[in-house]
């Protein structure tokens, strides 16, 4: 196709690119009369219906210079020559017009404020699987722009031009228009390049790209759609210009980066090393990992400088007292480790097929840890190669030794230092031979997985360190002692440090093609939002939300773009809510709750005008729940947010409580939620509180199978608010717990703890243990267990104030595994009097009798605290029996 003169092209782009999606076919007539339609003929007119508002579009003041023809793609069967596209115009620096103003008043979709019918967002049904379709011509090869190397000399101009060119090709913002656009691989490449520039410091990038060596090294990658899209979209991209400078560095030290590596028995992955380079650079630049080695020597520095690249300085490098090149050296060592391992074929065979986001976890493994040095990883690769699922137990190779052979604690400087000389540069082997505690064990397990090409991360837990390994499509916790809400990954490719965020990523990538489409749609929307009339971006953001609601960044952008307009559209908000609940809640009640709390409710609850509408929104969540999470999570935050939004009128709150009780009755796994209901109702007034309890009674009558679930919630709630009567009433049928109680010599007095109330500092994961708290205050015994490592204390409120004659504590084998118990008493629950501290020997016993021989202090409360060291505290007792000082009846 012949080139178009700029003067014509300006006008043409304005007409085609901007108005095609908005103008009806008759409006094209003048263009045809001017003989310009011959260029447009390749573009199908959009079937978008024209509205009255849309016809008021004004003609743009400026017009675009050139419209790119459909890419001249020639995919060869042999795949020797990658298909190319004429990309010269990337260097063009002509101003391109913005969309015409579409700003208009958004109509209020619910003037009554009572309409609870959602203005629905439909679940995304791709007309075609875009990513797959778009990649079709390039399977087994890569889509490559022609080059336009000089365009990268001026990143600012390039960014502007890329945005203009993409806008020029967009006919409208309907799903079909966006899908059509994304079907074009050239557009996908342009969008990704624009996004890369959007995340770069353009001044520094310009300095990097003005160097011919680095520009030559990078241009093939920047024009490789597969590489650049993985680099830009599969994980958070920060300091992109530094990451690119790193990749340029890798290419110089490894001239074979693009050489195909094949091994017998392994499905080849062309250009794997390119992708590894991107993953290493993206993570090291984002995290600023300098490695564990000493600073570069003068010679090494001179060597680096010889390379002649501009190496942008990582923010904060100076304050951390490091040479700016250190981070490049650390990243290079990591890249070379994986390049060498790929050449040898010595990594786990699944490594070869890892998607880019998993490569980030593997190749970006903690560059700031002694477990992340190349020498350590080499040893782990050669001595700890295991099937992926075996890495969850790899930590057991390290002996758990809190003190070393010299009697020095793991927390002292002398634990490893004497041994360093025997294990130069190999901290993993040193750890295996000398020993470690949880941190060392978990780092050993995770680093052995990553060194062998299996994704893994370490995680913090209260007083503990665990790790997780990715295989069979999900993250598997290892060496973990805590429920997932207490797990905080030490790092994550998306910069979110919760277990739930990891799971959401997992779900998000379970459909990677749609996720990629959504990400590109966001880039498109961002280009539109970058213009004078950001309202154009809204439908595209909304489409991206529909495509992949689990991709969290899209929500912030969507909400930002929606601005005030959604505030006037409560029914649309209900639609958003309904969409999130119906698509996510059935499988992931927690992920859905988090998304609602973080992204939907803040806007929606402001927009909805009546409690009736809010109840409809909340009901949508409850109705879509089906599977309870196995472990505890902070469901109370969600329930409180919903409940508090209903205002002061108790009628609506009563309806809400009924919805909640019905949900628990249908699915008793949600039993703990009743604890929240009891606490919230108690905070209102007595009659409301009674109503909620009556609802629970009624639910148990209707659903006997839900009795344990509901009872555990009610008892827990009663304990937290201190309602002795309610707790004991609901515990009546659980007084025979079947606990095997040891016999003991009775104390002289009468048992006064029976009928009291237990209140734990923290509650064990197994919610049903709460049912046996009342039994634990009787001589039949029951169970009182706190969560390990967290608030290890229990308070027993006696039915009435009495003079204490003695106590019997019965443990599960021992009163305390590692600590020593402190017993205190109080008459008001506020001022505590120290009674006795049990020594470690005494705590090692199963039963301890405390006989108060002369003084018999009055008490209403007894508190027992486990003061264990090293965060291993836990209350785990079969019985707490309190006796008075009177003669036994």
């Amino acid at each position: 196709m012949s080139r178009i003169k700029p003067s014509h092209a300006l006008l043409l782009t304005a007409v085609i690119g901007i108005t095609a999606g908005y103008l009806s076919a008759p409006s094209l007539l003048p263009l045809m009369q001017h003989g310009l339609y011959k260029v447009y003929e390749q573009v199908e007119p959009s079937p978008v219906t024209t509205t009255e508002n849309e016809q008021e579009v004004t003609t743009p003041e400026t017009v675009a210079p050139a419209i790119q023809p459909t890419p001249s793609i020639t995919a060869t069967d042999e795949g020797d020559t990658p298909p190319t596209v004429d990309d010269d115009a990337l260097a063009d620096d002509t101003e391109i017009a913005d969309f015409p103003s579409l700003e208009r008043e958004v109509e209020d979709d619910d003037p009554t404020g009572e309409n609870t019918t959602p203005n629905s967002i439909t679940k995304y049904q791709p007309r075609v699987p875009i990513a797959n379709e778009a990649d079709k011509p390039f399977r087994e090869q890569t889509f490559t722009g022609k080059g336009a190397t000089t365009a990268w000399n001026s990143p600012k101009t390039l960014k502007r031009n890329l945005g203009a060119k993409v806008r020029a090709r967009l006919k409208g913002t309907s799903q079909q228009d966006v899908e059509n656009l994304l079907l074009d691989p050239e557009v996908r490449l342009m969008l990704t390049q624009w996004e890369l520039l959007n995340r770069s410091n353009l001044d520094d990038l310009e300095k990097v790209m003005r160097n011919a060596k680095s520009r030559d090294a990078l241009t093939p990658l920047l024009n490789d759609l597969e590489w650049i899209s993985g680099f830009v979209y599969d994980g958070e991209l920060q300091n992109a210009e530094i990451a690119l400078a790193m990749v340029a560095h890798f290419r110089q030290v490894d001239p074979n980066m693009d050489k195909a590596v094949t091994h017998e028995g392994i499905t080849p992955c062309p250009l794997l090393k390119r992708r590894v380079a991107g993953a290493v650079a993206a993570e090291f630049a984002r995290q600023g990992w300098y490695g564990e080695e000493k600073e570069l020597t003068r010679e090494e520095l001179a060597e680096m400088k010889k390379l002649g690249y501009f190496m942008p300085t990582l923010p904060g490098a100076r304050s951390r007292g490091r040479n700016k090149q250190d981070v490049y050296r650390a990243a290079r060592e990591r890249y070379l480790y994986f390049a060498e391992s790929i050449d040898q074929g010595s990594l786990h065979s699944k490594f070869w097929q890892l998607p880019d986001w998993q490569l980030r976890y593997v190749c970006g493994w903690k560059g700031n840890s002694p477990f992340g040095t190349a020498s350590t990883m080499r040893w782990l690769r050669d001595n700890c190669a295991a099937p992926a699922s075996a890495y969850v137990s790899m930590c057991s190779q390290v002996p758990y030794l809190p003190t070393n052979v010299y009697g020095d604690s793991i927390h002292s400087e002398w634990y490893y230092q004497p041994f360093d000389v025997l294990y130069p540069g190999n901290f993993a082997k040193e750890t295996r031979d000398v020993g470690a505690v949880c941190g060392g064990l978990s780092h050993f397990g995770a680093s052995s997985a990553c060194a062998n090409g299996v994704p893994a991360i370490t995680m913090g837990e209260p007083g503990h360190c665990a790790y997780a390994v990715y295989f069979d499509g999900s993250w598997h916790p290892a060496n973990s002692l805590n429920p997932e809400e207490r797990r905080s990954p030490h790092w994550s490719i998306w910069g979110e440090y919760t277990w739930s965020a990891l799971q959401m990523q997992e779900d998000m990538y379970s459909n990677g093609a749609i996720t990629r489409d959504a990400q590109m749609a966001i880039s498109l929307a961002s280009i539109l939002a970058d213009q004078r009339n950001p309202v154009h971006a809204l439908p595209v953001y909304e489409l991206a939300v529909q495509m992949q609601p689990l991709y969290k960044p899209v929500w912030s952008l969507y909400m930002e773009a929606a601005g005030k307009s959604l505030g006037r559209r409560p029914r649309r908000w209900l639609g958003v809510n309904e969409f999130v609940c119906s698509t996510i809640a059935p499988q992931q009640s927690k992920s859905c709750a988090l998304l609602l709390q973080e992204k939907v409710y803040p806007g929606m609850l402001k927009a909805l005008r009546s409690p009736k509408q809010k109840l409809a929104a909340f009901e949508s969540y409850f109705n879509n729940l089906s599977t309870a999470e196995k472990e505890q999570w902070n469901y109370r935050a969600l329930l409180s947010m919903q409940y508090d939004s209903l205002g002061k009128a108790l009628a609506h709150k009563e309806r809400y409580m009924q919805m909640l009780v019905d949900t628990v009755a249908k699915n008793p796994d949600f039993g703990p939620w009743m604890a929240w209901a009891v606490i919230a109702a108690h905070a209102e007034n007595k009659s409301f509180y009674k109503k909620v309890v009556a609802m629970a009674h009624d639910a148990v009558a209707r659903h006997p199978e839900a009795k344990d679930g509901i009872s555990s919630g009610i008892i827990r709630g009663a304990e937290e608010i201190g309602d002795i009567e309610l707790a004991n009433l609901w515990s009546t049928s659980y007084l025979n717990s079947g606990t095997n109680m040891p016999s003991f010599e009775p104390l002289g007095g009468n048992l006064i703890s029976a009928g009291g109330l237990v209140k734990l500092g923290s509650y064990a994961d197994d919610q049903n243990l709460v049912l046996y708290h009342a039994a634990a205050l009787t001589e039949k015994g029951g169970s009182i267990s706190s969560e390990p490592n967290t608030a290890a204390h229990v308070t027993v409120e006696l039915p009435k104030r009495e003079n204490i004659g003695g106590m019997v504590l019965v443990g599960r084998g021992a009163l305390s595994r590692r600590g020593y118990l402190v017993v205190e008493i109080s008459t008001d629950g506020k001022t505590w009097k120290h009674l006795v501290e049990l020594s470690r020997e005494e705590c090692g016993k199963e039963i301890v009798r405390l006989n108060l021989k002369q003084n018999h202090p009055p008490a209403k409360f007894v508190r027992i605290t486990d003061n264990a060291i090293s965060g291993e505290a836990q209350i785990d007792l079969k019985a707490i029996l309190v006796y008075d000082n009177k003669k036994a009846k």
């Binding site: 809190p402 010299y406 009697g407 004497p418 031979d433 003084n855």
Partner: protein
């Protein structure tokens, strides 16, 4: 290296190998066909090599695949190969496991530390030879022990325990029966656990030190010296125990030549063990440490604190007339 004049035979399955096995038993090579390429490569360059075949003597060789995807068609097809093999605690690839003719695992080697980095696994071949030789020695010694009695028998059995392979089950019991009063100290040697000794001295069951705990240095010194002087124990165990004494001495602010002297004793006992090799480093690290208080002052301070705590607790209980039992 001395190779057997015989070349090892190969079997298709572990069970066949066991049926064919003579005194040299079975050597199994575990590899991961669907997940570990290096172990597959070593099948040819190491496992099927002439050198290994010679080094393995009369042992029956069998290669056992371990699949990651245990439900794959290929895994099912090959599941019979390793059938009957005792749970190998297999975790690392490649692994070589050694079984005697009764199927008892007596040794294993995993990873490059044992196999070496070259394709022919030169180090691994040497180790095969070493373990096999140890097995033969073990068998000879056990046969010799069968015809011996009393202390002579205990002495032979003690030699078995020193071989670099796993001892036969019940060896300790046999030694105890042969030398019921443990006059030769062999039972003590095998039963001694340096880590348990250390935990006992530090009053801990799991290695976590109680913040209030202050060891009785005089007692520890006495106990450690006694163990160190006990010739019946292995030198590495004696060194380990003495290391605790050295560490505690440093914590007690003992410094200079006195501390160096203790470190030197460990090195002198056996310079070849890892603890022996660490001595020069320790001399540098700790030999020049300077403390402000003397050991005596520190000990007095520690005892004072300890007594005070104990008195305080007892006083409280007495005041409140609480009896704990």
């Amino acid at each position: 290296m001395v190779f057997s004049s015989h070349a090892a035979q190969r079997a298709e399955t572990y069970q066949n190998a066991l049926n064919m096995a003579g005194s040299d038993g079975v050597i199994a090579y575990c590899y991961g066909p669907d997940w570990n390429r290096r172990s597959v490569m070593l099948l040819n360059s190491f496992w099927k090599s002439e050198k290994l075949s010679e080094a393995a003597g009369d042992a029956i060789l069998v290669a056992v695949p371990f699949y990651e995807d245990k439900h794959s068609a290929e895994a099912s097809r090959h599941s019979h190969i390793g059938s009957g093999m005792p749970n190998p605690a297999f975790s690392v690839c490649p692994t070589v496991m050694f079984f005697d003719k009764n199927g008892r695992m007596y040794a294993s080697m995993q990873g490059n530390d044992y196999l070496g980095t070259d394709a022919a696994c030169t180090e691994g071949v040497k180790n095969v030879q070493k373990y096999l030789q140890a097995l033969r020695t073990q068998q000879q010694l056990m046969a010799k022990a069968d015809s011996a009695q009393g202390e002579e028998k205990a002495k032979i059995l003690a030699q078995v325990a020193e071989l670099p392979i796993k001892s036969p089950d019940g060896l300790l019991q046999q030694i105890k029966e042969a030398d019921p009063k443990d006059k030769l100290g062999y039972a003590r040697r095998l039963e001694f656990n340096a880590r348990a000794f250390m935990y006992d001295q530090l009053d801990t069951k799991d290695g976590f030190l109680h913040p209030d705990f202050e060891p009785d240095y005089t007692k520890m010194m006495k106990d450690c010296e006694a163990v160190f002087r006990d010739d019946a124990l292995r030198s590495r165990d004696r060194q380990a125990v003495y290391n605790l004494y050295i560490g505690q001495s440093r914590r007690e602010h003992i410094q200079g030549n006195r501390l160096k002297g203790l470190i030197r004793k460990v090195n002198k006992l056996d310079p070849d063990t890892d603890y022996g090799q660490l001595s020069p480093t320790l001399m540098n690290l700790w030999g020049s440490l300077k403390h402000k208080t003397t050991p005596e002052e520190r000990r007095a301070e520690r005892n004072k604190k300890k007594t005070k705590e104990k008195e305080k607790r007892e006083k409280k209980r007495q005041e409140r007339h609480i009896e704990v039992n």
